[in-house]
Symmetry: C2
Subunit: 342 residues, 2 copies
């Protein structure tokens, strides 16, 4: 059909009751469907007037591209998938809502792919890659040589991690500097004259556990403090077993005068254990802990707390994966949150 200036001003009535598609805009404008598509995507071979007209109509009728159409044709899903363990982990739960917030005003939808602890934790990642069900993946509970990360790098699938691997310089991540946290905690205890410390550490397989222990033990060595990592429980264990483990450790008369805990739960457990043995926190024995939600200071004034803000992580990770999708050539976005000494 001949292209004429007049055509551009003609507009058919808006067809009611149906979701508008490119075809709708094409009919209203008298243009061909591909022209409309290219106009909306700002292709170089579409005239300025045409683009303006098409965009005006699109706005007017509230056109939103059909995701299935785009996905089928281009392979782009406009989905970011957060892989998570179904094991209740407070951190992960919070991460979801903060990532969701970060993706809110973007075109990306957030998908949650779970795996049960019994499962192979590669399974969800492989599924996502093989079925191409997401444009990018977000992982947490990262291990130093995390096989999921190796796999995603190999497959060149965009991703970001909450935590660092040994190859962290090569991929986007957000991490809390747990080594510094460990140093600060141990320095605080040293200043208070503590000499023998028991640590309720995070699960040892995860990177941040090793970072934290590094900070703790190096600083302990500097100050001549003896340090002991408790066995059998971690900062993610349930509170009852942690209480018991800490009580056992302290009651065996090792002369411990401080406990370092990596979570609010573990600090509560340690408090219960200490008080159960007739001692007072801050008196015979100190607790130094991470505190994600501000419980601890309220609970026992004397617990030495170090806040960890998790709210910004999701936002950052959202931006990081979007950049990884849209600009794979740029260096990966990385952020290490270094805690202040308080």
């Amino acid at each position: 059909m001949a292209r004429t200036k007049e055509k551009l001003s003609l507009e058919a009535a808006l067809p009611q009751g149906q979701k508008p598609t490119l075809k709708t805009i094409a009919q209203m404008s008298g243009l061909a469907v591909p022209t409309v598509s290219r106009a909306l995507n700002d292709a170089p071979d579409i005239g300025r007037d045409t683009k303006l007209l098409v965009r005006r109509i699109a706005d007017e009728i509230g056109y939103i591209p059909n995701r299935a159409g785009v996905r089928l044709r281009t392979g782009r899903t406009n989905v970011v998938s957060l892989v998570m363990s179904t094991e209740h982990d407070n951190h992960t739960a919070r991460l979801i809502s903060s990532v969701a917030g970060g993706l809110q005003s973007t075109r990306y939808h957030l998908n949650v792919t779970p795996y049960s602890p019994r499962d192979d934790f590669m399974k969800p990642v492989r599924y996502i890659v093989e079925t191409r069900s997401a444009d990018a993946v977000i992982l947490n509970q990262i291990e130093p040589e995390d096989p999921r990360v190796a796999y995603l790098m190999d497959k060149k699938v965009p991703f970001a991690t909450h935590g660092r691997t040994n190859w962290a310089d090569k991929h986007p991540y957000y991490d809390f500097d747990n080594e510094t946290f460990g140093r600060h905690a141990m320095e605080t205890l040293a200043e208070r004259g503590r000499k023998k410390v028991v640590v309720v550490a995070p699960p040892i397989a995860q990177s941040y556990s090793q970072h934290m222990l590094k900070g703790l033990s190096e600083t302990a060595a500097v100050h001549g403090i003896e340090m002991n990592v408790i066995k059998g429980v971690t900062s993610d264990s349930n509170i009852q077993s942690t209480v018991e483990a800490v009580r056992d450790k302290l009651s065996r008369g090792g002369g411990y005068d401080a406990v370092v805990t990596a979570s609010t739960t573990a600090a509560l457990a340690a408090t219960a254990a200490i008080e159960g043995l007739g001692m007072n926190v801050g008196d015979e024995i100190d607790i130094a802990s991470k505190d994600a939600n501000g419980f601890l200071k309220i609970f026992r004034q004397n617990i030495l707390t170090l806040p960890e803000l998790v709210g910004t992580a999701g936002d950052f990770l959202a931006r990081a994966v979007i950049q990884a999708i849209q600009h794979p050539e740029l260096p990966p976005l990385q952020y290490l949150e270094v805690p202040e000494r308080v």
Copy 2:
């Protein structure tokens, strides 16, 4: 092409390096693509042998239907969307992982659609319905006349709620029986001879708040107990402001001898307030609280706790929406978890 028995046993080699589609199976079996599709969907006009052959090949090559293809053609997204506030709410976070677990072995993917508290909370729901981006919706933080529920019922979009509306008999839901919780809490306090109770209630707009208050106040009336709902803070408020609010209330010399709290956080805050005033929990004053994670009993032996299990909610809601999608003619799945008196 002629249909012959021999054709059915012929199988071409599996083409490597590409995701298998219906076309792959069609080529390998010598059948037409629609035949393969209908065979996999168990259509009545496909022969038994053909179905067996097709399914065998499909299994062998690991065929998984392309979601975009299905979605484009049928409108079925195979997605369930959980609508959540980005405001950190412990309940919601836990709900996500449990729903994710419930959908794990189904064909449904879980999508998280956030809205910020400032936003109109109808927005995400309208978006999902208008763009048909999910087959079903899961909502929480339900209000008695929740406009989202009214909207979804009107649009006949499958959904399930965590909490009840005034029309709860007409839609799937999972709820904790907060009225019974309220009765139990107040009875416990009555048995301990308490006479004047202050309540830190959930946000008043939400249904479960009203249920809880009903149970509490009716039982209070029976036992001649005076009851007062604290203003300005709810069980979802941050811990600091709750401490202050409770302290103010108790210190104004009203003669309160008990506090009922609807969350672990609020109970912690109440404890801090009480002890800050030089009183002891379980002594001059009681605390009766819901406790979702088992913190409280460890923390203060004397807090009267009532556990609320949330783990099963997600699983049930997952099954409920799937039934609503696949069998809209069946009565909606509903579950009310009634707490035991402890």
